[in-house]
Amino acid sequence: MLYRRILVPLTVLALGAAVVLYTGHPAKSSDHQDTYNLATRANTSADITDVFIFPSPSNPNNVVLAMDVSPLIPKGMGSSFFFDPSVMWQFKIAHGSTSPEDQVIQFGVTGTGASQIITMYGPGAPHEIGTANTFIAPAGSFQYNIATQLNNGAKVFAGPRADPFYFDLFAFFSFLGDRNWATHSSQTDPGPETGGPLYNGDSVGAPGAFAPAYDKSANPAQPTFNGFAAGTMAGAGSALGNYACSNNPATNTLAQIGGGFNVLSFVVEIPKTMLTNGYTSSNIHVWATANSSTGS
């Protein structure tokens, strides 16, 4: 989950001086900041970081769908980030088969700042299959950062939450540095990937781009996560060679740096029947998209 865009001043606050010293850019991970274009949009809420689907903890008849966007919001600044009114967010659902989608839940936003109004559309059949979409019939509207009960029985929320994703981002970049958008100067700049799909962190392009503990320039042939017991080895049969794993402390990047990071979340809890009635299968396939009215 690669973390995407955040303003440089905020990065200084959030990631701390060490990262800025080494990168000069904000950092990313997971599906956080997974393209240069998404990472550099003025409003980062088109950048989906994680998607969750789980049974309701409070009602066994309900299911919860959550979509996190706007990665790397610094501690204490969650309620200072808002949604982009030019974007449509969607949960897309296919019943039985893996394609195509036959049901969608959409979100759109009007207004600015803390007075933003969010509208949920659906669940319902999509107007179009594929990647160019229009809004279907609205279910109801609610205020930013206020959990709300809609008339159709859905519970909805759109606002800041702690990012639940846990990951050692910089250790990941130590062997897949190409995934760090800051190692690319544009969407088309191949950056370190010219060195190959693996081991491309700093062997080409941006030596020393990572914090010292993870600087592969000192040992480029030894990709590793951290936190292994002293003496742990990669393994004699490994195609990458047998070498010592790092026993540096592992870091939960999203919780342990800068006091933790936040995201903006869309959360909807609905009766499972809203996703099954009228369909022949209770087995569904789900993904999330962000669509732009400007096409970029």
Binding site: F54, G78, F142, N151, Y166, A255, N283, V286, N291
Partner: protein, 214 residues
């Protein structure tokens, strides 16, 4: 989660598996009870925008694009359907080609980790069984017949999705499950990340369930 995977031994099963309401709080709709206590919706909806919105971002399975796909291909994958397949969606072929660099197919052993992972992870969509009554989500739960914690599938905010993925890609998860023979290519240094979820990130029991901001 990986422990659950390691405990799973149904070889054939894994392969096979690959193949309310009203406007008033506290009422029942479609057999679902929504408790009272939340504010109700706005009295009117804003005017629905009439334009067409073009997809610029796509996400489902965590860490799949990030691990397998070259960074500059993400933009292409973000703008296609998750079931588009090659060549429209480069992710499908890159799952195999990237894995092949680390664990090339072994004719003698009959192993092809890249092809197996490609079959599991593509299309890039969560599988969810809404009829499951375990009350618990588990990433890859449908695909593994419940080996990751339940047959509901989907993804819980607490799921250790990174270690699940790393174990399958770089570790011995698939051989431990009996899906493929052990090819001896496991790399302990990158098959787990040794990170746990912080208490400040843990899901709560109250809607909206995701933890309050830091």
């Amino acid at each position: 989660m990986r422990n659950h995977l390691l405990a799973f031994t149904a070889t054939g099963t894994f392969a096979l598996l690959l193949a309310a309401c009203s406007s008033n709080p506290g009422t029942t709709l479609n057999h679902a009870h929504i408790p009272a206590g939340l504010p109700t919706q706005q009295p009117t909806n804003p005017v629905t925008p009439s334009g067409t919105y073009t997809q610029i971002e796509l996400l489902s399975r965590p860490a799949v694009k990030e691990v397998f796909e070259q960074f500059n291909d993400h933009k292409t994958t973000n703008a296609v359907e998750p079931y588009a397949g090659s060549p429209a969606d480069p992710l499908q072929s890159e799952i195999k080609s990237t894995e092949d660099l680390i664990r090339p197919p072994n004719v003698g052993l009959g192993t092809d980790y890249g092809a197996t992972l490609q079959g599991v992870l593509y299309p890039n969509e969560y599988a969810v069984n809404l009829s499951d009554t375990s009350g618990k989500a588990a990433y890859l739960g449908v695909e593994t017949g419940g080996a990751t914690g339940s047959k509901f599938g989907g993804r819980d905010p607490g799921d250790d999705v990174v270690d699940i993925s790393l174990g399958a890609l770089f570790g011995n998860t698939l051989s431990a499950l009996g899906v493929l023979a052990d090819d001896g290519e496991e790399n302990a240094c990158i098959s787990a990340e040794n990170v746990t979820q912080d208490p400040s990130q843990v899901k709560t029991g109250t809607f909206p369930y995701l933890a309050s901001p830091h």
